[in-house]
């Protein structure tokens, strides 16, 4: 008889990170009857996916972002999942089982008192960090109208119409710059972040639908395939949005407040300059510094820098799930977390 749902067991799993990856793994493990503790450092669950805006036009565009809300609700309602938000795991040690303590993240006025815990397996689902573009030549942090893709998501969630952060006016010429911090050999970032072409094209189409007078340009290296009907989506997008195959070298602020982007024109190789009033940097994924430290503490081997551990087998009760192991979309994260949950279950049943 297979271990089916609702079979009780006293085996416990610790999951570090309450993003869509951690919560999906938690639900799968709880469904198989294991007790699960999820430790999330932020006050809110769901990680990055819970901060994204819906990009539906007349129909859903299948970005998957709304799955985060559903997954959070299901995890919160599950009797075998304990959620520790605003907490971190500290002092984790491997013995026969894993011993650790769950400590509240330092908050003003809150006493920092750890609760000891033990688990038979640990899943590292700490996700990713978006690349910090402060060091790029686009004036991020200096020019208020240069924002990141994650900030754009926040603006789209908050209000139906997009406005320039500098003066609240409706933008008339907007640019997306792709691959910021990804596919960048100079930084040693030899990966494509996999989500940002899709996110930019979907966001651009939504904005164009809501603000038809706004001209949108996407600067790119290669537009990555996304979705099941990419060919037709891309064809439609090219009618609505200008695609320029070049990455601008820098952004210069004009006295007018406009942002001058310059790039090399294909073919003529001549420099082209054009003014925009809102620039979105499509920042990619980088690994969390803590992931490395945690994976060492639990005995997970990370064979290099960046994101080399995706899909790797868990060793001795330590496992990895979701974008902590490499750039992944929400769909891939869900599938990867379920794969991990199954591996954990096999480990707990068979000790391998």
């Amino acid at each position: 008889m297979p271990r089916s749902v609702e079979t009780m067991t006293d085996r416990q799993v610790l999951i570090i990170g309450g993003g869509i990856g951690g919560l999906t793994a938690a639900l799968a493990l709880a469904q198989m009857g294991y007790g699960v503790a999820v430790v999330e450092k932020e006050a809110a669950l769901g990680g990055h996916a819970a901060r994204l805006a819906c990009k539906a036009l007349e129909r859903c565009v299948k970005c998957g972002a709304c799955l985060a809300a559903q997954t959070i609700a299901a995890a919160a309602a599950h009797p075998r999942i304990r959620l520790h938000t605003g907490c971190r795991v500290s002092g984790i040690r491997r013995g026969d089982r894993f011993a650790f303590s769950i400590e509240p993240c330092a908050r003003e006025g809150a006493p920092s008192r750890g609760a000891p815990g033990e688990a038979d397996a640990v899943v590292l689902a700490a996700g990713f960090r978006t690349f910090d573009p402060a060091g790029t030549p686009y004036g991020y942090g200096l020019f208020p109208d240069v924002i990141t893709n994650l900030e754009l998501e926040g603006l789209l969630r908050a209000a139906p119409l997009l406005r320039r952060p500098s003066n609240g006016a409706a933008p008339t010429r907007m640019a997306f710059i792709q691959c910021v911090g990804s596919r960048d050999a100079a930084r040693g970032h030899l990966w494509c972040s996999a989500f940002c072409c899709a996110a930019a094209v979907r966001a651009a189409r939504l904005i164009k639908r809501r603000q038809p007078a706004l001209a949108i340009t996407i600067f790119y290296i290669d537009i990555q395939t996304f979705g099941r009907d990419f060919e037709s989506v891309y064809a439609q997008a090219r009618r609505e949005i200008r695609f320029v195959r070049a990455i601008p070298a820098e952004a210069v602020r004009r006295e007018s407040g406009g942002l001058l982007l310059c790039w090399l024109d294909d073919g003529s190789r001549a420099p082209v300059e054009e003014e925009f009033d809102l620039v979105v940097l499509s920042t990619g994924m980088t690994s969390c510094p803590e992931t490395l430290a945690l994976s060492q503490a639990i005995g997970l081997r990370l064979p290099g820098a960046g994101f080399p551990a995706a899909g790797g087998p868990g060793a001795g009760g330590a496992f990895i799930a979701g974008a902590a192991g490499g750039p992944m979309t929400i769909e891939q994260t869900i599938a990867d977390a379920r794969r991990t949950a199954w591996q954990v279950a096999r480990f707990l049943e068979e000790g391998r």
Binding site: P2, A50, C66, L190, D229, F307
Partner: protein, 510 residues
């Protein structure tokens, strides 16, 4: 899980699923149209042992029943047989359609489609040839996929490093959105593979009488004209569902996506679910390039969930009221209504969407907790605030989640009624609140193509329009009812929708 799990496909995903299920103690039947089964045992194939039945040369012809108790009929070697199974996994390989015609070339000594590359030998002098001797085309006139791009880059790198043959890749958008591909691309480039990308122009490909091609192009980076005359042109392919997988989707009553894969293009089906509980699709039966081990794990988890005891709150038909019009059989998107001597709901297949209950002309279908006359249970008493009293029917997977985190003023004047699917909201439920003091009714559903029960949202929108027409005729006014699509992450839009609707209702007061 009493009965075995039926797995269709002779692929890594199929065999890994079988292995996982065996490990979990379930029996399996592995069937495939192939005779004999071709996947090498080393790739995970299970030998025929107790608990494993192999059915090569099988053609499924039908499937009845529900999760936990399906009956699959097949023709094996010309003989019809049936098997009682608890769940079904479809894990056929995808088909790969050649794209040679799109590039105006035909298979010949000098031209092959990607999956045939490697079977024909290059001439021994290939390494000495001037210019690229093998040219790959990947996603040039059509868009490609990382899975295909990876194959092309690996092949080119191998030619270059192991055989010293100069290789080139012509592409539009190079697809690197998968683990390790950006690094692979750099490695190939460093090894001497030539990448030529096209944006605004296209190369001109001409095939000579000897089958070999010549390619004329303008290098878009340098604006220089170039020509290649490779010994071999290799063209990538377009993935598509296999004929067997499409046929299976039809036989099993599965939703399909635009290209015919047996899974709707709907995020609620991710990763391996179909519209039927207990029937899952994995690997090449639902998409391309997915990792077989990942697919197999998800398939097993889905099955374990589907065969668990069905909760007691599913739809049920009252035999005394049913007039056997079969509306419920027709509208159920999850194949949960079965017909023996009379229609009945299989609890293990029912998703509690309520579409049947709302459509039944006799009100013969009851769903515990979702009775039309009990919803909404309470409407805020009048005069608790100045805000118009509203009832908002919300789909539990979309708008209801947005409602929870929305910042709405005068919450007490808003009665949120959560329903598992907007498809439950019947005309009776839409009009009921007006008789009990509500000033307006909102129907808040998921977006088109995002409905867990496919049609639930469509039913809700159509019924709201009908209710509005009725309200107009009865003098109450069509403006008092409104239907809006709101995803689970649209909390601010939820608040905005309520505020706008209230403003409108206030103007109707005077």
């Amino acid at each position: 899980m009493g009965d075995p799990v039926f797995i269709f496909g002779d692929t890594d995903a199929a065999w890994l699923t079988a292995r996982h299920l065996r490990a979990a103690g379930a029996e399996v039947i592995v069937a495939s149209g192939r005779t004999p089964l071709e996947t090498p045992p080393a790739a995970g194939r299970l030998p025929e042992t107790p608990g494993v039945e192999l059915l090569p040369g099988a053609v499924p012809t039908g499937c009845r029943g529900a999760a936990g108790a399906f009956e699959v009929s097949l023709v094996v070697g010309g003989r019809p047989i049936t098997r009682a199974v608890s769940a079904v996994v479809i894990a056929e390989a995808e088909e790969r359609l050649p794209l040679l015609a799109a590039y105006g070339v035909a298979p010949a000594a000098g031209v092959v489609s990607l999956s045939r590359f490697g079977r024909d030998e290059l001439s021994p002098d290939a390494a000495a040839g001037k210019g690229p001797q093998v040219v790959f085309i990947s996603g040039l006139f059509t868009e490609s996929h990382p899975h295909m791009a990876a194959e092309v880059m690996r092949a080119a790198l191998k030619l270059q490093t192991e055989r010293g043959v100069h290789a080139a890749i012509l592409t539009g958008n190079l697809k690197v959105a998968s683990n390790g591909l950006e690094a692979l691309c750099r490695e190939a480039r460093a090894a001497g593979v030539l990448f030529v990308k096209f944006t605004g122009t296209r190369p001109e490909i001409r095939q000579g009488a000897d089958g070999r091609v010549s390619i004329d192009f303008i290098d878009e980076l340098t604006a220089d004209a170039g020509r290649m005359r490779p010994q071999l042109l290799v063209v990538d392919e377009q993935p598509a569902p296999s004929r067997a997988a499409s046929e299976l989707a039809r036989v099993f009553g599965l939703e399909t996506d635009g290209s015919g894969f047996g899974q709707a293009d709907n995020v609620h089906r991710l990763p391996v679910a179909t519209n039927r509980r207990g029937i899952v699709v994995a690997g090449g039966a639902r998409s391309i390039g997915a990792d077989p081990a990942t697919e197999a794990a998800s398939a097993v988890l889905e099955i374990l969930g589907a065969v668990a005891a069905a909760p007691g709150d599913r739809a049920a038909i009252e035999p005394g009221r049913c007039i056997r019009c079969l509306t419920c059989l027709r509208v159920c998107p999850h194949h949960a209504v079965t017909l023996e001597s009379r229609p009945a709901v299989a609890p293990a297949a029912c998703e509690r969407c309520g579409i049947c209950a709302a459509e039944c002309p006799r009100g013969a279908i009851r769903i515990p907790g979702l009775e039309a006359d009990a919803l909404p249970a309470e409407i805020t008493p009048a005069a608790s605030t100045a805000a118009p009293r509203l009832v908002a029917f919300c789909c539990s997977r979309s708008a209801a989640l947005a409602a929870r985190s929305a910042e709405v003023l005068d919450r007490e004047a808003l009665t949120v009624v959560e329903v598992p699917c907007a498809g439950r909201i019947s005309p009776q439920m839409l009009l009921g609140p007006f008789g009990r003091g509500a000033e307006g009714v909102l129907v808040l559903t998921c977006h088109a193509d995002n409905c867990h029960s496919r049609e639930g949202r469509g039913f809700a929108h159509r019924r709201t329009e009908l209710a509005a027409a009725f309200l107009a005729l009865s003098g109450i006014g069509a403006d008092r009812i409104k239907v809006v699509s709101l995803a689970a992450n649209m909390a601010s839009e939820f608040a905005q929708t309520v505020a706008d609707f209230r403003r409108n209702l206030l103007t109707l007061r005077t």
